[in-house]
């Protein structure tokens, strides 16, 4: 049984708030930083369910970087129990992610080039953008008064009318096919309907993972239970380039521009799958292994191959799933030229950044070998050099020959990113009360 009051609120279920403010903060060192964290901890939204009547007007969650742990006085022996990729940070992991130079830290947005100064991510969600702004001002004032600073700030908002499914800037419904954690069955028995069920330890630390063992977690135990890791990646989308590509190829492609765009993405813009199952559920690709309906290299199929390589391979693929919690940023692209800065504030949660996020990004998105796609890369989100034109094969089906997309331009670029640890509420309190310890004198497993 999950202790919902100990788990941060955006892990098990995504919020439906329309606005998000992500504050990437530098904390004052030592006791002052812990005081700030203690104040924040009192406001953090837990996973305890709320009803229709007591839905809060906003929600706050907190995540911390390795530098943040150091600033809070967490001793080196404790920090060394965190995974290597978390301690190194996204900027230093470009080779594992197969990010090209244009997507690496030296070319990120101004604030993000100072990623080493980021200690804390405070994500605030709400439906009232103005109220969110006021809360944000208060928090930033509090942090600055204590000697900290706001390093970067990102503002996200859902696109489309309220109540409608959220879309991203290329015009496709986003956030579909989220997996469901097994332990959630106690809380919401019907929630797993039509969704992939994952072992709880694939996301929540300290629970049984896909291999049937407790997932690897940091020590002491209070840090290693009910927490998770969060990947943040600011992805700028080039809507004009996407539209040009679809128009150019759509003019010759037998199915026209809309079907061409759907083949790149692997879904129709309204979210309907290309390879719909007979019963109307989510596709498994088991009867579309050749890619005749949904191309093998389409974006949604790459990031979640399901049974496209046979049912026996699914347990292996399930070890690379994660929960996505992204939200678009920037103004919606109208029908005219769509210049300007817009994209996705990509966030995902997983128990192992290396095994889950980095594997998907490095092997399935930025390479094709592991999926039997040779040197092809994801047609939408792969990291490619600005001058490079990658190729994608749209497999043919009955009465239709395969189509080679000769020159897919760079559609998405990375503008910033970082790896965070999302502590449980208990761990946040532990961190807020952690005293400076000399390395080597910390007693693992004993709360201060």
């Amino acid at each position: 049984m999950l202790d919902l009051a100990d788990i941060q609120g955006n892990i098990l279920r995504g919020y439906s708030f329309r606005h998000a403010r992500l504050l990437f903060l530098k904390l004052p060192a030592g006791a002052a930083g812990r005081e700030v964290l203690a104040d924040l901890t009192a406001q953090v939204t837990s996973a305890a369910p709320w009803g229709r009547d007591d839905r809060p007007s906003f929600a706050v969650n907190v995540a911390v970087t390795d530098a943040g742990l150091a600033a809070l006085g967490v001793p080196a022996p404790v920090r060394s129990t965190f995974p290597e990729e978390f301690r190194e940070g996204m900027a230093a992991r470009a080779s594992s992610l197969r990010d090209v130079a244009a997507d690496q830290v030296q070319n990120w947005d101004d604030g993000w080039r100072r990623w080493e100064s980021i200690h804390l991510l405070v994500s605030a969600y709400g439906d009232d953008g103005h109220a969110l702004r006021r809360s944000r001002d208060q928090l930033v004032d509090r942090v600055r008064a204590a000697g900290g600073d706001l390093v970067v700030e990102e503002e996200g908002a859902r696109l489309g009318p309220a109540g409608a499914p959220s879309t991203e800037h290329f015009g496709f419904v986003d956030g579909l096919s989220q997996p469901w954690l097994r332990a959630m069955a106690d809380i919401d028995p019907g929630g797993a309907q039509g969704r992939q069920v994952l072992a709880t330890g694939e996301v929540l630390l300290g629970h049984e993972d896909g291999e049937g063992f407790e997932s690897v977690h940091p020590e002491p135990g209070v840090l290693g239970r009910n927490g998770t890791f969060l990947v943040f990646r600011k992805l700028r989308q080039d809507v004009d380039a996407f539209r040009r590509l679809c128009a150019e190829h759509g003019a010759r492609y037998p199915g026209g521009p809309e079907e061409f765009a759907a083949k790149l993405m692997g879904r129709w813009p309204d979210g309907r799958p290309l390879a719909a199952e007979a019963g109307g559920g989510e596709p498994t690709f088991e009867d579309d292994r050749d890619g005749g309906r949904c191309p093998v290299g389409a974006h949604v199929r790459r990031v979640n191959p399901r049974r496209g390589f046979g049912a026996d391979r699914q347990p292996f693929f399930d070890r690379h799933r994660m929960l996505r919690r992204g939200i678009p940023y920037g103004p919606a692209a109208g029908d005219g030229p769509a210049g300007g800065d817009r994209g996705l504030l990509f966030m995902c949660l997983c128990a192992s950044i290396a095994r889950q996020f980095e594997f998907v990004q490095g092997e399935w998105i930025n390479d094709g070998n592991a999926l039997g796609l040779a040197d092809e890369r994801d047609p939408v989100t792969a990291s490619v050099h600005p001058a490079e034109r990658r190729r994608m094969t749209i497999q043919g089906g009955p009465g239709r020959v395969p189509w080679l997309v000769a020159a897919v331009p760079r559609l998405v670029s990375v503008r910033g990113g970082a790896y965070f640890f999302v502590p449980s509420l208990g761990a946040l309190r532990w961190l807020a009360g952690a005293r400076d310890c000399e390395p080597g004198r910390v007693s693992l497993g004993v709360l201060p």
């Binding site: 230093a92 080493e116 063992f213 070998n369 039997g372 040197d375 994608m392 094969t393 020959v401």
Partner: protein
């Protein structure tokens, strides 16, 4: 050599200067904490990488009675049921792998019931490779490895990884015949070989057709070849693993006292050299040179035991028979062979090619199980197929959506170019 503390297995190959600087093959020094610039991807020495190929060299002590059981198991896999073979062929990222029972190394003084030498050549990061191996052929691999001391099982995979890391060697030199083709992963090579063969068959009959008939034949070709356009057609499992014309060659030679630094430096120079001194060997797919200077002992768990004298392990995948290959090695690459084996006990020198060939032949260790992904195709076939694939894909991209007459004209231009190249 032991694996360096710095994990270099996921990083890109270094340039010549950096490789030369690391020619003594000592582990890379930790990078000083000088801000984010210092923590950017390190261009470290990556000896276990050649182009897209990664190598794993694993040497583990067997349990008491393990040598016979392992030998029987490998024999069963080699000649018997094809379940393991079919599973291994599913691993689209595997170039070559071999399993060898080694009874005793020349410098080994302790009692030990034998070792398993396992080497594989694959694509992708090491961690992913092990996870896939554990997932897809875990059962078959378990049956092989449970003859080894300390094998924890393939699940949980992290314990399996720890076990492998404890028995893995760092290569001193890794040669690949496909390094000039940066896209040449195992799946790309398989796709290129299949696509080229299909295109040859199509071209043989399509050149004589009129535009209308050509369009129909071309559509049929595309439909049949589509698996090879993007990625990998399913690999055909040969009736027996031995059906392949590729062979594995393993040579173990003890190194004379004090000669390890010179040998290692020579190997590092060869690793960095472009073109590699081993290029003249047209029948060499992949070659690996490893200095074995330590080993685990099953009876004495704990620190590894130094091997005195250390040995030079040379393993290679070659096309054709071993004897002629060895003769070519000591004649066509005599200088490099002298540099590498010059420090070994009893090396007669490449100026005496018959004796040098005999030296290598007599120090061979026969592999007991060998997997080759490319069957009857030699390095030249593979390189031609990779070049041809680039051309064919460019042609398909240009031809789609065009009129049959335009397609036919483009097709004739392509076949003419390919014919001229073959003639040249």
């Amino acid at each position: 050599m032991r694996r360096p503390a710095t994990d270099v297995r996921t990083e890109g190959r270094s340039d010549v200067t950096e490789t030369m600087a690391a020619s003594t093959a000592t582990p890379a020094a930790p990078i000083a904490d000088a801000g984010w610039a210092a923590r950017l991807p390190r261009r470290a020495w990556t000896p276990n990488r050649a182009g897209r190929a990664m190598a794993m060299c694993f040497y583990t002590p067997l349990r008491r009675g393990g040598a016979l059981r392992l030998w029987l198991r490998l024999l069963l896999y080699r000649y018997g049921l094809g379940i393991f073979a079919r599973s291994v062929y599913k691993l689209s990222f595997l170039h070559y792998a071999h399993w060898t029972v080694v009874r005793r190394l020349p410098g080994q003084r302790w009692r030990q019931p034998g070792y398993l030498l396992f080497e594989s050549n694959y694509n992708g990061p090491w961690h992913n490779y092990i996870e896939t191996f554990s997932s897809v052929v875990g059962g078959g691999i378990s049956k092989i490895l449970r003859t080894s001391a300390g094998f924890p099982g393939v699940v949980p995979v992290r314990a399996f990884k720890d076990y492998l890391e404890g028995h893995e060697y760092v290569l001193a030199n890794y040669y690949s015949a496909y390094e000039g083709h940066p896209e040449a992963s195992a799946s790309v090579i398989t796709a290129a070989l299949d696509l080229s063969a299909r295109f040859r068959r199509f071209a043989a009959r399509a050149g004589r057709l009129g535009p209308g008939e050509f369009a129909l034949a071309y559509a049929r070709f595309l439909a049949e070849a589509q698996a090879s356009l993007a990625g990998t057609p399913p690999r055909r499992v040969p009736r027996r693993w031995l059906a392949s014309r590729a062979r594995n060659l393993t040579v173990v030679a003890p190194i004379r006292p004090g000669q390890v630094p010179a040998t290692t430096a020579a190997l590092a120079r060869h690793h960095a050299a472009l073109p590699s001194p081993w290029c003249p060997l047209g029948d060499l797919h992949l070659g690996r040179w490893t200095v074995l200077d330590w080993a685990q002992v099953a009876a004495r768990p704990g620190p590894v035991q130094p091997l005195e004298p250390p040995c030079l392990l040379f393993t290679a995948e070659i096309q054709g028979r071993r004897g002629p290959f060895i003769r070519r090695l000591v004649t066509l690459t005599a200088g490099a062979a002298d540099e590498v084996w010059g420090g070994c006990e009893g090396w007669p020198g490449a100026t005496r090619p018959r004796q040098a060939a005999r030296f290598l032949r007599r120090r061979q260790v026969r592999s007991h199980l060998f997997f080759s992904a490319y069957g009857r195709y030699g390095p030249d076939d593979v390189r031609h197929a990779l070049d041809g694939r680039r051309r064919i894909l460019a042609f398909v991209e240009q031809a789609q959506g065009r009129s049959p007459a335009d397609q036919l004209a483009a097709f004739r231009r392509l076949t003419e170019e390919l014919r001229l190249e073959r003639g040249a």
